[in-house]
Symmetry: C3
Subunit: 213 residues, 3 copies
């Protein structure tokens, strides 16, 4: 286990985490509404989507107990998102689409937060990128598995790849000594835009054809 390097920007990781928890939490709460779950189901799915990726990241980095269990703001952000989604979904015409938009925002924020924390823990570039991808995709995959949906990560071409792009931006930015905060914001926005364009244009990867049983 390596010691964390002193973080140059102490507010950056919590800010990425908390914003990511809130938007991922909205995606979880709205998915619960779409599946006709009750208020508590909305809060549980919001917490799963919002906190899952960061808990996976911290387990992989050996930073236990995970910060999501130590810092009450993390819990409050996730629960608030679940409540807001439950109450405010009337304002949303198409819930399925809203789930994917908030999911894309969370994907970018957590891919960047995962890679940035791995860099702060002195991981090598490959490890930091992979931890970014797993942090970005982990919470959404847990949400979808709990809600018995086919995970988004399996359904759409530009999903893990979009998370990869954001994580690479952070790791390359660190290697060239760029300032962390703009790099992180740029990476998160890049992931989000890439994912939304792919959704909008309906980009698909090839499907296999041939014998199947």
């Amino acid at each position: 286990m390596q010691l964390p390097a002193p973080e140059a920007v102490p507010w950056l990781l919590p800010a990425l985490d908390l914003t990511g928890i809130f938007v991922f939490g909205l995606s979880g709460g709205l998915l619960a509404v779409r599946r006709h779950l009750d208020l508590f189901g909305a809060v549980v799915l919001a917490l799963t989507a919002g906190l899952g990726g960061g808990i996976v990241r911290d387990l992989l980095l050996g930073d236990v107990p995970p910060v999501a269990l130590r810092d009450i703001r993390y819990l409050v952000a996730g629960m608030t998102a679940g409540l807001v989604a439950f109450v405010a979904h009337h304002q949303l015409e198409r819930i399925g689409r809203a789930v994917r938009v908030f999911d894309a925002a969370g994907l970018g924020l957590f891919a960047v937060a995962g890679a940035a924390k791995a860099v702060a823990f002195s991981m090598n570039a490959l490890t930091a990128i992979l931890i970014g991808v797993l942090t970005g995709t982990g919470g959404g995959a847990l949400r979808d598995v709990l809600a018995n949906e086919v995970p988004l990560v399996l359904r759409r071409e530009i999903y893990a790849v979009a998370a990869l792009a954001g994580a690479v931006v952070v790791v390359v930015g660190d290697l060239v000594g760029a300032p962390p905060a703009p790099v992180a914001i740029g990476g998160a926005v890049g992931t989000f835009v890439l994912r939304m364009v792919a959704l909008r244009l309906g980009w698909h990867a090839p499907r296999a054809t041939g014998p199947a049983d």
Copy 2:
């Protein structure tokens, strides 16, 4: 990683764990019978439900390898529960109900065991409560996901909340210096009663209404 404080009651945690493993194991074995799985499916689901929560707890606390893999009594308790459920289900008229009763007992025992171990590892109050809730709900959620059921934690209002109540009792008891064993038993019974009353009275949280796609 913090050092565990010396435990005042060394038999308490294993007793909570082993009883919890057995009743959660019964819930897993009976669910396997209900899903028409074979004997080995019953043992696998019993081990998943019985050992899952404690393994999650120990990963979150950094106590690796988890005690469930180090202490042969844990494995024996889980396997025995699976075999008993497989053989004895004829005595049960309504298996679905029995799954939920044993699940409620395991929920209480593991919520308390999770919070108590976190307290023994010198976690703060919030972390200890959250680890209690995750320990209580983790094994059952893994069981339901493996068996392709919608997890109980998503379906019923008073589930994670009941686990929360038991974990809070343990943490508050520790803060005020109450004797650990009666506090733990009280917390587990409280969670169980709260959950069973909610089941019996059919308490539901509000469902969302409105546009859904």
Copy 3:
């Protein structure tokens, strides 16, 4: 956390891991084809099946970040398997059968790799055997849960038991001081043969009969 003992055969674990990742990855990629997922779904399921068991093992042993995230060969082996499965499935008449054959090979390799790494980390015999079983069955279970299939570990009698046999061979071999490489190969082949014979002969465990609701 215990210190790893010096490994007598430094190439053995990576060789078991990488071969296991490739064959488990083939099973994941082919399952994706069978479920009509696209190319990226095939790569994601190949990585899940291929890397999942080893990541679970390393978390249980406290060896974080897991070697699958530190060593680029692990990622390359898993991605290659996904691509090969996607491109080459035309050569396979019965994909469902091929999934199970590659799964059986991965089961044996990872059961052995899990037990061998646990032995190298000075775990006791029981813990090493259980970590072997979880390493062997973990990746396949994650693959099946993500793809919304009933996990093989629940469906067939001789599955976890076959993994157990391979892990026991490694642990007993270590106890009697046998040379690690032949023991590991023997254990993996034994698990594979046991599993394939069970599949071929259609061995089933008894199913429960009686009242169910």
